[in-house]
Symmetry: C2
Subunit: 341 residues, 2 copies
């Protein structure tokens, strides 16, 4: 048993796969591992832009760079950006002691929900590079460890739609643990994760309490209203904490729960000022600064529970796909905005 894939780390010895320079994808499949026949790599945006630039925007050259990284490192971790992505493929084989041994079968189509930065990978060939969706279609084999997250790709939803939502599926799932009927909730940032959190809030609040969307883009807020994801919005620049507080107070006061899904840095103080004493701030923005949150709360004497948005909550993929299935307006919003086929 090797739940973290330590035996696949070639160098440096003793590191976890994510920190490793080189992984070995060629070892025989472990009893708690899963082998995936890879169909496509969805490359992290920052990584794809770097590869594209290094390749002079030539798809054939991008393919060569991807093959070279994977040949050298045994994983698709861009050595410049450090980032990875995720992959889509079919189960090739599953160890008898893998946690999904009873639920997955060879041939099942899945997406990985762990980063390619820690996924052992062998590539045999690249079939196509599609810069418009930052995707590399290819043949190869990847290994998932027992702790490696995956999701079955649904048959009733288009793949591009499912992948767009699965990318941020931790946000609505963790919010669901905190949401209670009667709560007042502020969702900062009306992007992909913000929309899913609002959709979850609509279900969890069950008509009692309210979720309000805040963003600096009037257009993003209008889309939330059109999709029925909230009834009220606040147009604010959350990097301006004082202005955000003024808008919050003008709109009826502070919130029980603030979910930070902002895409820019510097929104910690606005989140802290917008939450009630005794309330909770859930930081999902990857631009969150730990010290800005911790010292900011102390600086204004705010007694609030400050949560790091853990990307993993058991059942998060199914919860998120369920939101898309039940909420036609949410689905249409995602199709129009994020789900480039």
């Amino acid at each position: 048993m090797d739940p973290y894939g330590l035996r696949r780390v070639v160098s440096p010895r003793g590191a976890l796969p994510q920190r490793a320079d080189v992984l070995d994808p060629a070892l025989p499949l472990g009893e708690d591992e899963l082998a995936v026949a890879v169909e496509a790599l969805n490359v992290d945006a920052a990584s794809f832009r770097q590869l594209e630039s290094a390749a002079g925007r030539d798809p054939a050259r991008i393919a060569e760079l991807v093959l070279e990284i994977v040949r050298t490192r045994g994983k698709l971790q861009n050595p410049v950006t450090g980032s990875g992505g995720m992959l889509v493929g079919r189960v090739r084989a599953i160890g008898e002691r893998h946690p999904a041994a009873a639920s997955l079968r060879p041939g099942d189509r899945i997406a990985t929900l762990v980063s390619l930065t820690l996924t052992p990978l062998r590539l045999d060939r690249v079939r196509a590079v599609r810069p418009e969706v930052e995707r590399v279609e290819c043949d190869g084999e990847a290994i998932l460890f027992a702790t490696g997250l995956w999701s079955r790709l649904p048959e009733d939803l288009p793949e591009h739609l499912a992948l767009a939502a699965l990318d941020v599926c931790g946000a609505p799932a963790l919010a669901a643990r905190l949401l209670r009927p009667g709560m007042s909730v502020l969702v900062l940032g009306a992007g992909k994760s913000g929309a899913l959190v609002l959709a979850q809030a609509r279900e969890s609040l069950a008509g009692s309490g309210e979720a309000v969307a805040a963003d600096r883009s009037e257009e993003a807020l209008a889309a939330m209203l059109r999709a029925g994801l909230c009834r009220r919005t606040l147009r604010v620049d959350a990097t301006d904490a004082v202005a955000t507080l003024a808008a919050v107070e003008a709109a009826g006061g502070r919130f029980d729960l603030v979910v930070n899904c902002a895409s820019v840095p510097g929104t910690e103080m606005a989140s802290l000022l917008a939450v009630k004493d005794g309330g909770t701030v859930l930081f999902f923005s990857m631009a969150t600064s730990f010290t800005a949150a911790a010292l900011g709360a102390e600086g204004v004497g705010k007694d609030a529970t400050l949560l790091v948005g853990n990307g993993y909550v058991p059942g998060h993929a199914e919860l998120t796909l369920g939101l898309l299935r039940r909420n036609a307006a949410l689905r249409a919003h995602f199709e129009a905005r994020y789900a480039r086929p």
Copy 2:
């Protein structure tokens, strides 16, 4: 009413005091403000080292630099390091709508628990600079806003001892909210905050469950044992997640609660691997990386509650001083190690 001190911000307009370049300490006292006759500034270590170096280690020149910063900025925020410190003084006047109007009187001796980076300050003279304790003895006046934290200085404990403990009083107070009898607890880092968390755990666990201290310093761990703050220790380098996990497993398995009080960066993964599924990690280390915690948990599929160590919990100062009063061995440990008179 101006709970965040916005009217004292001279530039840039609309910023919070902490982010401001210049504050105005000279405005008449607001009805929800508190004026303090300053006796001493305990300068942040990073700031003091910078001043000392810029002044060629000359105390008179350090005094000049401090006076110059405060004259220019209206607060003691080192323009190079960005950091502040805290102060000790006596209440001079208290606005009738300040939250402590009923409990504090002019003449009461207090320490501020908010940073000097957001505290309006006027200095009249520097009486002495004491590099060995990073302290500037001085006369002047500081303003505390309604949200600004403070603690009465106890009469039964030496000032240097109280200040050393108050500096990290959020850690045991937030831990106290999470600790329950029967829990297994790992405290990473046997420094000042780690020792207080262990002392709190001893009380909160009430003989059922166990708190274990982990550190890379054998000497620091021996001091914890000598002070009776724990019965077991783990000598680990928490920047090595794999080795830490091995040590945790060899010692009986993962913990319900991990409190990270480490003083070095790169200990997020060790914290995540050391906690049980469904457990909680409380990050108190200011070296914590938000993304390392969030993405690390996802990478290993760990369903744990990840908390940012908010430095403010109501009653945190009294709780911490209470630990020192009740626990003679803890007090002796602090006296010997941190409380340079």
